[in-house]
Assembly symmetry: C2
DNA sequence: TGATGTATGTTTACGTTGCTTACATCAGCG
DNA sequence: CGCTGATGTAAGCAACGTAAACATACATCA
């Protein structure tokens, strides 16, 4: 203790602080800039560059964190892989709700053309798809389960994105949940699909 | 002909030129800025502001144009509404291909939180969904056709977005088309979906 | 024909952004 | 103590979106 202040010149854990602060800003909708981030974290504008090569690297780290959070939102701490069709549907609801509750993070996770510079993000996305594939393997049988997994992912992701971008009304969370359930049910209940054309 | 130059001070049809030039830049992947646009159009940096309130307004106009193009890509000049299940699937393929061929425009069309300031875009999106609903009404019967239309839209849009964002490999156009067909088929063929859980 | 109003394009400037370069400050170790 | 590498700061660059004031062309009507 050479000085009485406990605020040292060196921050201690700036990297974690930056990530947390950035996440805060994303979630409250504050326009996200490195300078604003540094300002809020109480450090100089260039300090973040000691911990992240550039903006993309920061965003990749945030996206990776986002994927962790999404997974938790979906399966909880344990292995909450859905064991029933209804479980699968609630899975979808949770996915869409995550997108709507944390739109900026969700956009970071998916909206970026994800370059090779962020293999962590690609991996996280793959994990997500595997999770779905596993769930479907437990629930259904058939040859095309991989295709079905892709379909389910695309379906739920499409719903999330269309709501997020205002193409489907997302003003009411409950109504959105109902729409997700209805939509999924329309697809998953085989009886509802009967071709009349050839 | 008071002067020998045919380059007048006034441009003539700057608005259209700007839109066309902007579309060009979007399609060739040039990073899109108002200044670069003005430069390429051979006009001062602030000239675009005579025709568009701000960047958002320009983007909305581009997005609206994009929706027109998408519709043409889907149904052609006439009313190429699909009359068979295969037709519907090729509809989906065309949708995804449009997204992959013109990613920047596609992102403008959908990636924007589409505010009330661009009702044209909201309308165009609604038209797209109506188109799908019509097709499905011609092809299927059932109570939940609206839900099914939403599902189809979400499915194809999800596929488009996941490919566009690199979550699904889109390096090979043909392979992508096959994947879209397989995925759609897995959903649309009722037999492929059989629950084994309760 | 000439004056005048409006649409359209230019000049100049402001504030912000991502990022780089040069410098200051710390901790640990000889 | 002084050296070294890690980590912070200060200052500055070019590019961006945008605003305000000014300049030019054209349409209208006397």
């Amino acid at each position: 203790m050479s000085t009485s202040t406990n605020v040292t010149y060196h921050h201690g854990d700036l990297r974690a602080t930056l990530l947390a602060t950035a996440m805060e800003m994303l979630e409250e909708g504050t326009p996200f800039s490195l300078r604003a981030l540094a300002r809020r974290a109480g450090v100089s504008q260039t300090a973040p560059y000691r911990h992240f090569d550039d903006r993309d690297a920061l965003e990749a780290a945030l996206a990776a964190d986002g994927f962790v959070d999404l997974k938790v939102a979906l399966v909880g701490d344990g292995d909450g892989i859905p064991a029933t069709v209804n479980g699968l549907i609630e899975f979808a609801v949770a996915y869409v709700h995550f997108a709507l509750r944390r739109p900026a993070v969700f956009r970071l996770m998916f909206g970026n053309e994800c370059t090779d510079s962020a293999p962590q993000v690609i991996e996280a996305a793959q994990e997500l798809r595997d999770l779905l594939a596993t769930a479907l393997h437990n629930l259904f049988e058939g040859d095309d389960l991989d295709a079905l997994a892709t379909a389910c992912w695309a379906l739920v992701h499409g719903l999330a994105v269309l709501h997020l971008d205002g193409k489907l009304d997302a003003s009411d969370l409950d109504a959105t949940a109902r729409r997700v359930r209805t939509t999924f049910a329309a697809v998953l209940s085989a009886g509802a699909i009967r071709a009349t054309g050839r």
